[in-house]
């Protein structure tokens, strides 16, 4: 077995564990850290700059976190990125450069998704009829979300599950058919997809004056926020509307928080109250830090989220996000994105400069 196989085997075994000591996570994280330090050379340079060699790092909390924007700058991979089975990319940004997450194969990604999805979304059910409000993998080969949703259908979708999209967005006719069918047959139904697609659905339902009361056991999974793709709804209004338009109680509306840069997702246990507590499986841990000092914030205080995802065996386990949150006993609250800091004075900001540089000189 080569080293990658050994590492993957370790991770898979770790995921299967049902009993976990604090030391187990630490050990596994440090093992991955040594591996990534050795083979992921840009990461090695980064760690050395920070004086954090494997010799100096004694606990998973000390593993240097890589800012998400680094995924745009360098190829963070322990193996040849050219040979990756999947490359997941972040959605386009202002500069048009997309972050890339290389997966030499998707065994662990898929395993992580399946174990976690089963526990957090499926509850007691084995399979459910699903409708997906997002393009297919084929249409978006570099979207981790497209892959995730396809996997959900493949693993947990009953026959008849499928995508409810067409060229112009949500295929309302098919969606209405599905919803009607569910109401008539009483068979639980799951709608899963991008948050903004749900907003379009809600608008369309309102326009058509339609509401549904989906059978008991039906559930909704939204993810990704609104991303300027739809109007920005207050989360409370969003879940109220979902609940009243589709007849799925807010406790059955699960929000998934995932990132292209991770291999593991977080879920809440329904959105009865906002913001809902998010948590992940035992192979991912989240710290809330002060961005300047890197030190952990006391529980209950605002900070920036750092995730240590042992499913990220090939890139880097530990990611510094741009998300602000609060740590709680049972998980964390996600409070939103760090907005670009505004200019305080009259000196130009980076964003403004880039914008000016893009515009032709007058």
């Amino acid at each position: 077995m080569d080293q990658q196989q050994v590492i993957m085997e370790n991770v898979l075994q770790f995921m299967q564990k049902d009993h976990l000591e604090e030391e187990d996570f630490n050990e596994q994280a440090l093992r991955l850290y040594s591996y990534q330090y050795q083979f992921n050379l840009p990461y090695q340079a980064f760690c050395r700059q920070r004086g954090k060699t494997p010799r100096m790092v004694k606990a998973w909390r000390d593993i240097p976190a890589v800012p998400v924007n680094a995924f745009k700058e360098v190829a963070l991979s322990c193996t040849d990125p050219e040979k990756a089975e999947a490359v997941f990319m972040t959605s386009g940004t202002t500069k048009g450069i997309r972050g890339k997450h290389y997966h030499p194969n998707l065994h662990i990604y898929d395993r992580s998704m399946i174990l976690n999805f089963k526990q957090r979304f499926m509850g007691n059910i084995e399979k459910v009829r699903m409708g997906v409000l997002f393009p297919t993998e084929k249409e978006m080969p570099n979207s981790s979300l497209a892959h995730y949703l396809a996997l959900a259908v493949k693993e947990f979708g009953k026959e008849g599950s499928g995508y409810l999209m067409n060229e112009s967005g949500v295929d309302m006719d098919r969606l209405l058919d599905e919803l009607n069918r569910a109401e008539e047959t009483g068979e639980p139904y799951a709608l899963i997809g991008a948050s903004y697609s749900f907003v379009h659905v809600l608008e369309e339902l309102e326009r058509r004056g339609k509401t549904f009361s989906l059978p008991k056991g039906s559930r909704i999974l939204d993810t990704g926020g609104f991303k300027n793709q739809s109007k920005e709804l207050e989360l409370n209004d969003f879940y109220d509307l979902l609940s009243s338009s589709l007849g799925v109680s807010r406790t059955e509306c699960i929000n998934m928080y995932g990132m292209t840069e991770l291999s593991t997702q977080f879920y809440d246990d329904g959105n009865e109250s906002i913001p809902a507590v998010k948590s992940g499986p035992h192979w991912i841990r989240t710290r809330v830090i002060h961005p300047l000092t890197g030190e952990e914030m006391p529980k209950g205080e605002r900070g920036v989220l750092v995730h240590c995802d042992l499913g990220n065996f090939n890139s880097v386990t530990t990611i510094l996000t741009e998300d602000i949150g609060i740590e709680l006993e049972s998980g964390f609250l996600l409070l939103g994105r760090v907005q670009g800091a505004e200019a305080k004075g009259c000196s130009i900001t980076l964003a403004e400069f880039l914008k000016a540089a893009k515009e032709p000189l007058k």
Partner: protein, 483 residues
């Protein structure tokens, strides 16, 4: 505690709304209560200020106005005066800047508005200051007088303390009525200055107003701008663009956009004796107002060939910033600013892989960051709050080609160079858009009469009224004493 901000002329017993802006400092909070006028009240203020400008202000000679401003500045410079004490107490809380930085900054700034400096200011722009008082003969024949507008509207921005003084004093010197909108980041100083002026000369009471409204209030802005002769606007290009869209063609608009400034250290300033001094001064420019001013340096180009190399300069700069952090700590940053700063630094650190010669220097608390790069020198702004890049260069042409594409954004250069270099480099930097060259350590304290963004402070505000020689000759024919 609550402090009234702003200043209103006497518009009778109007009841007006106020807006409360809250500032949280480390030793307590301050609430600024500032008048928020409705449209009718605003029109009353406009009318009042215009009337007073015409009837009162324009009856003063410029010498008298200079005298009044000088007295006001003297009070603000006097650390025992109540206004000064209030400024020293409140501005650090409002802006977050270190108390010493505010105190030193205020003094060095205010002293540029003393009487002799104001006189220089007038001569600088007008040649003959009497032009503001009376028709003055012209060399080519005829007479001219400089007439200020009835009303100048100022849209101030940013949290650099007391910044509104430049344009307000300029407005007063040209005898215009002034209405200023303060920035919510520093709503106090302009109002205090107005009050001091009125204490010194009560007849000025109705000549100005200092107010606030939420930026982007289209109707209000259009109405005010169409009644103004000149609008002076500070802010980012985007907000200036918005402002411009509301300014009628008949109103003159003077926009002061956000700028980028930088430093240049010649090898002649980098021998083993002078290098530290150069770096020390450069670091001072960085920490003053945490680089928030348009004149604050984002980066330093350091010439190769000195006894102390550009890389060593970067490292010395790092230690200087560390020392300044102990002496004048950086203002507390918001979670957003902190996050963007640390992500900026870490992105730079990630770049070390591609550029092993790069160095990212900083302490563990991220109080400051110095990045040294030599492989691909470039020109990009820093994320501010004591973050600078140091890059080496061989000859000035390298810098010129980097900055030339950004001509409209360039402003100040802090330069450590010998006299020949100073003038040679100034020549070529001027061609690519730089408008101010000063010594390191002085970047954040422009001298009196500087040409802000290359423009005239007073000349841009006034209209010249000419009496042509033909009119004068012709008038003679109608004189009662004509024979």
């Amino acid at each position: 505690m609550r402090e009234i901000a702003g200043y209103l002329p006497d518009i009778g017993k109007e009841k007006f709304e106020t807006k409360i802006l809250t500032f949280q400092g480390k030793d307590g909070a301050i609430e600024a209560e500032i008048p928020l006028l409705n449209e009718k009240q605003m029109d009353m203020v406009i009318a009042k200020v215009k009337k007073a400008s015409n009837e009162t202000l324009k009856s003063f000679s410029s010498a008298e106005i200079v005298q009044i401003i000088d007295e006001a500045i003297e009070r603000l410079l006097d650390r025992r005066s109540p206004y000064r004490q209030k400024a020293e107490k409140l501005l650090p809380i409002v802006t977050g800047y270190n108390e010493e930085i505010v105190r030193l900054g205020l003094t060095s700034y205010l002293k540029t508005f003393r009487k002799h400096e104001l006189q220089r200011f007038l001569v600088e722009d007008l040649g003959n200051p009497l032009l503001l008082d009376d028709f003055q003969p012209r060399v080519t024949g005829g007479y001219s007088k400089a007439v200020g507008p009835e009303l100048i509207t100022h849209i101030w921005a940013g949290n650099v303390p007391a910044l509104p003084l430049w344009s307000l004093i300029s407005g007063l010197l040209v005898k215009a009525g002034n209405i200023g909108k303060v920035a919510s980041a520093e709503p106090f100083f302009a109002g205090w200055f107005a009050q001091v002026l009125v204490e010194i000369e009560p007849r000025l009471a109705d000549c100005f107003a200092v107010v606030w409204w939420k930026g982007g209030d289209e109707e209000r802005e259009f109405s005010l701008f169409s009644q103004s002769g000149v609008v002076v606007g500070y802010g980012g290009n985007q907000s200036l663009q918005f402002l411009q869209s509301r300014i009628p063609i008949t109103t003159r608009f003077l926009p002061f956009g956000h700028k980028i400034s930088f430093g240049i250290l010649s090898e002649s300033s980098l021998d083993s004796r002078k290098a530290w001094q150069s770096v020390h001064q450069a670091a001072l420019d960085v920490i003053r107002y945490d680089q928030q001013g348009c004149y604050s340096p984002h980066l330093f180009y350091v010439q190769r060939g000195g006894k102390v190399s550009p890389r060593e300069v970067a490292r010395m700069m790092a230690n200087e910033l560390e020392n300044y952090q102990k002496r004048f700590p950086r203002r507390p940053l918001s979670m957003e600013e902190s996050a963007s700063l640390s992500s900026w630094r870490q992105k730079e650190e990630m770049g070390i892989f591609d550029h092993p010669n790069k160095e990212v220097l900083g302490n563990s608390a991220n109080d400051w960051t110095v990045v040294y790069e030599e492989n691909n020198i470039h020109f990009t702004p820093s994320c501010l709050n004591r973050v600078v890049k140091v890059m080496p260069f061989e000859n000035i042409e390298e810098i010129l080609s980097l900055v030339a594409p950004h001509r409209h954004l360039l402003q100040t250069i802090g330069m450590a160079a010998n006299p020949k270099e100073l003038f040679d480099w100034a020549e070529s930097l001027g061609k690519v858009g730089v408008t101010r060259i000063t010594a390191l350590g002085k970047m954040t304290s422009p001298e009196a009469g500087w040409h802000h963004d290359g423009r005239f402070n007073l000349l841009d505000l006034v209209n010249m009224v000419d009496i042509e020689s033909a009119a004068e000759e012709s008038s003679e024919r109608f004189a009662p004493y004509v024979d």
